[in-house]
Amino acid sequence: MTNPKNELDCESSLPPDCSRCQALLLDSPSQESLETLEHLGSCTACRAFADELTLLEQRFQDAPVEFPPDSAFSAMTASIMKHVDPQPDAHPIKVEAGTWERLASWLGEALSVRVAVLALAALLLAVGLWSWQTSEPNPQTQVTTEKGAEARASQELGEVEDDAVEAALAELTWTAEDSSVVLGDDEDEDELEWDLDDDELVALEMLLEDDAPF
């Protein structure tokens, strides 16, 4: 803002009518208002001001502004409106989805993709494990297999031994005094007698522990 005091000084240098007249001259390019014309007829100062203003306007017209073709203004207007209103036709047609709809849609897409990825990963893992197990024998598995074979062998042996034991038990007679086993009928003690050492006796006891009927 300018200094109001200076403005008053300048303003006070003009008579009120002149100030009014020159204000109208500035506001009205045609200078044809009745009030202005009456004042200009009697005031040389304001008439000089009006003439100078008119002459200055003529100076500006003699040095015209170089305007571009109308197409340049049209292009500029289009560019401005593109910035101001980017998609004028899209507003009434476009229906904005709600927040929940957009969230659900996003989750659905994300979940379906994730589930597919997880299923594929699980499938690959299963195939990898299967191929690994079948191609490389596991020592632990091997041990287990060997143990299984032993167990099967032992079972078969046990069955054979059980048969032998059952056959022998029919003939066995336990004598605690001399740790000897007497085969044959009780009434025929002298018919056959085997002497057994301690290891054989322990093995025989172990065989008899499970199935011994006595």
Binding site: Q22, L26, S28, L53, R59, T77, V84
Partner: protein, 193 residues
């Protein structure tokens, strides 16, 4: 609409209100109303067609973006011109153009004119631009807003942030200085006839 605008000012005021209410397409009315006078004022500053178009466009875009800062719907015109002149001055400062170097690159007049008239017109243009450069920034702004922009005293006052009395004083001083520069012998401006 029951009541159509009667004057250009009413149209502008209605357009500003419409834009404020969300009708962005109404901004076209403002652009088409003011693009030519705005370009005319800017041309006296920038003296370059491309720069003028660029600054004119930027002024409208900035006016749209800051429309909420405009307190009076009827004051759009001086507000827009103020934005534009500030942009032009900023561009002149940043590019170091618009003064001495551009006095030699004053635009050529229209090609339809005669060769003699071309020369005379270029001389008159050069004299006018040199005379304008003798004015103070405020005097230049006031006289250009008046003669090229077509703003009245009240609008010039709003645009230049002055009182209406100060506008008249600056116009008087600008006329005196231009007269002294353009026609120092006679003490008055003479037409080229």
């Amino acid at each position: 609409m029951s009541c159509l605008p009667n004057t250009p000012e009413d149209s502008v005021r209605a357009a500003v209100r419409a834009v404020r209410a969300g009708d962005r397409a109404a901004f076209r009315v403002l652009v088409e109303t003011y693009q030519h006078p705005l370009y005319g004022v800017l041309f006296r500053y920038l003296k370059n067609r491309d720069d003028c178009l660029d600054v004119t466009q930027r002024a409208f875009v900035r006016a749209f973006e800051r429309l909420e800062d405009l307190t009076d719907d009827g004051a759009f015109k001086p507000w827009l011109f103020r934005i534009a002149i500030n942009l032009a001055l900023s561009q002149i400062r940043s590019s170091q153009r618009g003064r001495e170097e551009d006095l030699d690159s004053i635009p050529e007049p229209s090609r339809e004119a005669q060769q003699e008239e071309l020369v005379a017109q270029k001389q008159r243009s050069k004299a006018l631009y040199e005379a304008l450069e003798t004015l103070s920034p405020t005097q230049k702004k006031v006289i250009l807003l008046k003669l090229e922009g077509g703003l009245n005293a009240k609008e010039i006052a709003a645009s230049a942030d002055l009182s209406e009395g100060a506008v008249r004083v600056h116009v008087h001083n600008a006329i005196k200085r231009l007269r002294a520069h353009l026609d120092p012998e006679s003490g008055s401006i003479e037409t080229e006839s």
